[in-house]
């Protein structure tokens, strides 16, 4: 058997990599790195910038309804962004630190987090979004002097519409996950 191994080792080492243009490769890698950094920076800067712009453009500070509305929606957006960031980017840095077993376990955990973002956190976000916009509408509808019954109807119709739109988009996302992420989780679990 030992003779076999030596023989296989000799055959194994016959294969060599094809020479690469290292200069070209490094330029390409630098480009990818810069692009990745830019994407992450945009993601991190987008939320505070949006909040600052809204605070500057809208008279939210003078109106308690607008202020609460923006705070609730902003909280929901930050929650989703943190969740997406945790399941996407933190995956990158563990390739060299984890052994195969831990890497697979970590990967399965991250993929499940991504599924959870759609199934749980997106619904929580929907609730915050509907609540926030409805609170904002209280003041808007007050200005139009409409009856309380009509106001309630508008709130209900708006709420139902928002839930329908979000339901459709969450279900679409869930389907994509079921086709892409579930088989990958299944594959990885069978490796362990």
């Amino acid at each position: 058997m030992e003779k076999d191994i030596t023989n296989w080792q000799n055959l194994w080492k016959e294969e060599k990599s094809t020479p690469l243009d290292l200069g070209k490769l490094i330029t390409h890698l630098n480009k990818i790195e810069k692009k990745g950094k830019l994407e992450r920076t945009i993601l991190l800067v987008a939320v505070p910038v949006t909040i600052i712009v809204l605070a500057t453009l809208l008279p939210i500070l003078s109106n308690i309804y607008y202020l609460i509305s923006i705070l609730i929606i902003g909280f929901g957006m930050i929650m989703i962004l943190i969740q997406s960031y945790r399941s996407k980017y933190s995956l990158i840095s563990y390739d060299a630190e984890l052994n195969n077993h831990k890497y697979i376990k970590n990967l399965i955990h991250k993929l499940k987090q991504r599924m959870l973002t759609t199934s749980r956190y997106m619904w929580f976000y929907t609730f915050l979004l509907v609540l926030g916009i409805n609170i904002g509408y209280i003041d808007v509808l007050q200005k139009f002097n409409v009856s309380i019954t009509l106001r309630i109807i508008i709130h209900v119709v708006f709420t139902v519409l928002m839930i329908c739109v979000m339901y459709y988009s969450i279900e679409k996302r869930k389907k994509e996950n079921n086709n892409g992420i579930l088989p990958l989780i299944d594959f990885l679990e069978n490796l362990n």
Binding site: W8, S17, S93, D95, L98, Y103, L191
Partner: protein, 164 residues
């Protein structure tokens, strides 16, 4: 940045053939092995800051290679399934085996046999053929050293049968 480029060049020079062989053993054909090799190089670049000179470069790069291979294989398998729906896909190596010398045929047969093993077994035998110790293999795969020994014996038997 220049320091990073220098470090990358050193790692590349030291490990390119070892990494490529692991990729080829894992994927079983040169096209997929080349793709995986490039993906590993990107990850090496991304992880270069985490590499400390005092740690073992082989263990470091083997972890990147094998982790990337495990993740890539699923994607490749799915793509292959789609390709098969349109046309029969003859593995690259089978065509090449027909047009090569005796030694080349033996090399290709070995790689092909390895690529037909279970995913973790491909990694274990690849690392063993790269002269890694049982402890190193245990360190890279996360399996217990005793389990590595048991698996290696089983792999040897399977390969001996296939290559006779």
């Amino acid at each position: 940045m220049k320091n990073k480029e220098q470090k990358f060049k050193q790692v590349y020079k030291h490990s390119k053939d070892k990494v490529y062989r692991l990729c080829l053993g894992f994927m079983g054909n040169k096209t997929d092995a080349d793709d995986l090799f490039q993906e590993v190089l990107i990850k090496v670049w991304n992880n270069l800051d985490t590499f400390r000179n005092e740690s073992n470069i082989d263990t470091w790069i083997y972890r990147i290679t094998t982790n990337t291979a495990l993740l890539t294989l699923n994607r490749k398998t799915k793509l292959k399934k789609k390709e098969i729906e349109y046309q029969p896909n003859i593995p690259h190596y089978e065509i090449e085996i027909l047009n090569s010398t005796d030694k080349e045929q033996k090399v290709k047969k070995l790689y092909k046999a390895i690529s037909l093993l279970k995913e973790i077994d491909r990694i274990i035998i690849g690392l063993l053929l790269e002269n890694c110790s049982y402890d190193d293999i245990s360190n890279i795969t996360g399996l217990k050293t005793s389990n590595v020994g048991v698996r290696i014996n089983r792999i040897k038997k399977i390969l001996s049968k296939k290559l006779k």
